[in-house]
């Protein structure tokens, strides 16, 4: 039975015309989608996958433009070049879209009910009572509990996952023929992601809606999509049935993407894609004769550490509270009596979802926050000073942060950023600074001549290398890595992981690796600790925890991770 395709995209090209030149975000993309089919659109950042989605629904703002010669046909009707008023009638009714960040897509000033009603009224006339009834029904459809009450809530009263469900409910309101989802679960926790994926599968089957799921995550796409298109530099490099593409990729790029995934590789081994550097890091500076390590088995001791965050009310607020007019603010116990011991040279993975306290614990270990109680010691020496206002007294533990765009001072050259710490602490003399910086840049796989460049002149992956160089230039013994690869593309991620593996070996570093990404942690770490709501629920050798999880939460977490076929 040859059925006419629901959506037919031919030679779609979307270019951005800036004064500096033309950026070809989408450069000749063609595919077809049948009724009720689910297609995955996969690519790294800059591949043009999101822009493709926006082009189909007609939301490209100047200076972007869908170029003439492009064709997007919905049920044989041409959408490119359609009058704006006609296009508006299609948006939300025949094609709708769900965006990535639910925090930003819902208006914080209006109730959920109002926003659903506005979406309803965009295409039909409904009375107040009818609108309310349908809003409640829409919320129920996406499995939001107690929809009758929730309809009058404001967005800030929902969690991230619930907000995304609301967005999906709005997208489903008019029973569209096609829904385009632009990375809808990227900003959500793994367990929430798993729930939403399952629900989407059911809804799509129930309603017969076609789905275009845009993502950088191959495993997520594998769970959901019938067929997959892989994009790179604005073009589709490979397309086909999901199973086939993922188990027998034809194009080298697809192959490279798959190889770069930690889940596809043996733990501890370098991933494909190389490190980008063969240069050995500079030798350790012996400030004084290095003291013999007192106790290698208990090198890092984090003992009974607790950290609480509470808003301190102002003077008048306190008075109001005393008068009973106002409640005391809610405090968050981010870290709740945690004890961890690391061996010298060990890599410990701290895994958890948002709110688990893993970042806070990492920062306490690194000396960024002072714990409310408990202590952190490295080789017996305390990290924080004693007293009322503790401050960090050691340079032996350094941190690498998540966001490469935010972790470097944009107004300092990378050379200065790397050299600042060592110079201040007397690890090197001013005369040696230049050479020292060059050595480190080479060690992390960057051209030493780039020392005089500014952060904005580097890509995300390169900036992360600079951040690594900066941390390691302080010659630490312990490095806390706070989600260092979470913001990076898969292929770059592989390189950075390789770099960390290599440097760890060569410098005999002890690592605390914080991540929400279970496969990365499995690949890199010897031991793993699973955190939930400020406590460690399970810990042990990585292999053990992953293959034979004991605690319920661990089991749930592992079950929620989408798995690639053939992986």
């Amino acid at each position: 039975m040859s059925e006419a395709p629901l959506l037919e995209v031919t030679n779609l090209a979307t270019h951005f015309h800036a004064r500096a030149g033309v950026v070809k975000a989408v450069d000749g993309v063609s595919f077809a989608l049948k009724r009720g089919e689910v297609m995955g659109l996969v690519g790294e950042s800059g591949s043009g996958k999101s822009i493709t989605g926006f082009s189909i629904i007609g939301l490209i703002d100047p200076p972007g433009r869908v170029e003439p010669g492009s064709s997007v046909k919905l049920e044989e009707r041409e959408l490119v070049g359609l009058a704006p008023s006609d296009l508006r009638k299609i948006r939300g009714k025949q094609i709708s879209m769900v965006f990535q960040d639910p925090m930003m897509t819902l208006n914080p000033m209006l109730t959920i009910g109002t926003q659903i009603r506005l979406a309803l009224e965009a295409h039909e006339t409904v009375s107040g009572t009818e609108a309310r009834r349908r809003s409640v029904a829409a919320l129920a459809q996406v499995r939001i509990p107690d929809p009758d009450a929730k309809v009058d809530f404001y967005p800030h009263q929902f969690s991230g996952g619930m907000r995304q469900r609301v967005a999906i409910a709005i997208a489903l309101l008019h029973r569209p023929k096609l829904i385009i989802c632009d990375e809808p679960t990227t900003a959500l926790d793994v367990s929430v992601q798993a729930e939403i994926l399952a629900e989407m599968k059911e809804l799509v089957a129930e309603l017969g809606t076609a789905l275009i799921w845009i993502s950088h995550d191959l495993a997520v796409v594998a769970e959901l999509a019938d067929h997959v298109c892989v994009m790179r530099h604005g073009k589709i490099v490979e397309a086909g049935p999901t199973l086939q593409v993922l188990t027998h990729p034809q194009h080298p790029y697809t192959q490279a993407l798959l190889d770069a995934l930690p889940s596809r590789s043996e733990p501890g081994k370098l991933l494909a894609g190389g490190v980008g550097s063969d240069v050995a890091p500079p030798p350790r500076v012996a400030k004084q004769a290095p003291a013999p390590v007192a106790d290698a088995a208990h090198y890092v001791r984090i003992e009974h550490v607790a950290k609480r965050f509470a808003q301190t009310p102002g003077l008048f607020r306190k008075l109001a509270q005393k008068a009973g007019l106002s409640k005391a603010p809610v405090a968050v116990q981010a870290v709740d009596d945690i004890t961890l011991v690391l061996k010298r040279g060990e890599a410990l993975g701290l895994v958890g979802e948002s709110g688990s306290g893993k970042s806070t614990l990492g920062r306490v270990a690194a000396g960024i926050y002072a714990p409310d109680s408990g202590s952190v010691r490295i080789d017996g020496a305390p990290v924080m000073s004693a007293g009322e206002q503790p401050y960090k007294v050691t340079t032996r533990v350094q941190t690498i942060f998540q966001d490469p765009f935010a972790s470097l001072n944009p107004r300092m050259t990378v050379g200065d950023s790397i050299a600042e710490g060592p110079l201040t602490h007397g690890l090197i003399e001013r005369a040696q600074a230049k050479t020292y910086v060059r050595q480190w840049l080479a060690a992390v796989g960057l051209n030493p001549d780039f020392a005089d460049r500014y952060p904005h002149q580097f890509s995300g992956g390169q900036r992360q290398r600079v951040a690594i160089a900066r941390a390691l230039a302080m010659q630490p013994d312990v490095v806390v890595c706070d989600e260092p690869v979470a913001s990076l593309d898969v292929s770059i991620q592989a390189q950075i992981i390789n770099l960390l593996i290599r440097l760890r070996q060569e410098l005999d570093l002890t690592l605390i690796f914080i991540s929400h990404d279970l496969s990365v942690v499995r690949h890199l770490c010897d031991r793993v600790a699973i955190m939930y709501r400020g406590r460690i629920v399970e810990s042990g050798p990585a292999g053990e925890v992953y293959d034979r999880p004991q605690h319920d939460y661990t089991k749930r977490l592992l079950a929620a991770v989408p798995v690639l076929p053939g992986g």
């Binding site: 301190t312 003077l315 000396g367 960090k392 998540q402 900066r470």
Partner: protein, 292 residues
């Protein structure tokens, strides 16, 4: 990948707006004229010997005693208006820039200091700043001028007191935002001493919004000084700023001798508008939420 420092990049982006570049040129030219006024003005308006009442209130183009052509006419005392405007420009710019500089130093120190201190002290300082911001600047300047008396230094003090709060609030906002960013945490955790972090890391990154406020405030100071002079509370009569000139000529407007007020007025407006245009462009450049 551009091979450029933040400053060079900033300038390149600035240049993209022709209006802003023209405005900047105008400002630079006016500053130049103001600096060179003693050399450039055809006549020294303060030299009493040059005043001759018989030449008073003459229209533009009038050729007076001594053979000077008064290109813009003369004022009520017989001063050459062109020279008076040049000197007036000088004074107006002086007031604006010096008062602005004082306000900048005071305000920025307070704002960044409050952000650094944190806790109760920060809350207290910022509450005071907020309240002062709600208090109308013109009133503050009026009252302070009246209390402190007439004179350049007093006026500068009044203007600076009326304006430092804007700098303080902007500096505090910017410093707080930077304080929360990863690179500051990274640098603090090396560990590096707090003073170094504030000076070398936080402050330079607060500069862009501060520059915006600075341009607006300098323009405001100039306008405020002109208003105060117009109301008779500003500078002494012996050193007429543009505002004073306009005030002096006000009474002659209705009788048709418009030039005595209009020309100084035009000079004032051009200056202020140019400064504001430059500030506008910088503000757009610096606003992260406008980057698509």
């Amino acid at each position: 990948m551009t091979d450029a420092s933040p400053a060079a990049r900033f300038w390149a982006e600035f240049r993209e707006s022709r209006t802003a570049v023209v405005a900047l040129a105008v400002v630079v030219v006016m500053i130049g004229i103001a600096l060179l006024a003693p050399l450039v003005a055809p006549q020294d308006p303060y030299d009493l010997a040059n005043l001759s009442l018989s030449d008073a209130r003459r229209p533009p183009g009038f050729v007076g005693e001594g053979g000077y052509t008064h290109w813009l006419g003369t004022d009520a005392q017989g001063r050459d208006l062109l020279s008076a405007i040049l000197y007036g420009l000088r004074i107006s710019l002086q007031m604006g820039l010096i008062a602005g500089a004082f306000a900048f130093i005071l305000g920025v120190s307070l704002g960044i200091g409050a952000a650094y201190a944190g806790g109760r002290r920060e809350a207290f300082i910022m509450r005071v700043i907020d309240l002062q911001l709600a208090f109308p600047a013109i009133l503050l300047a009026l009252v302070l001028s009246a209390l402190l008396g007439q004179g350049k230094m007093q006026l500068i003090a009044a203007l600076a007191a009326a304006q430092y709060a804007y700098f303080a609030r902007t500096a505090h906002g910017a410093a707080s935002a930077e304080r929360g960013k990863d690179y500051v945490e990274a640098v603090l955790s090396t560990p590096l001493p707090a003073w170094r972090v504030v000076l070398r890391h936080i402050f330079p990154n607060c500069l862009p919004p501060l520059i915006v406020v600075a341009t607006v405030q300098v323009a405001n100071a100039i306008a405020l000084e002109a208003t105060l002079s117009f109301l008779g509370v500003g500078l002494p009569v012996t050193e007429p700023s543009l505002g004073m000139l306009i005030a002096n000529g006000f009474q002659y407007m209705l009788s048709g001798r418009y030039w005595i007020s209009i020309y100084p007025g035009i000079a004032l407006i051009v200056l202020i508008v140019a400064i504001n245009l430059v500030g506008d462009r910088i503000r757009d450049q610096v606003n992260p939420r406008l980057k698509r």
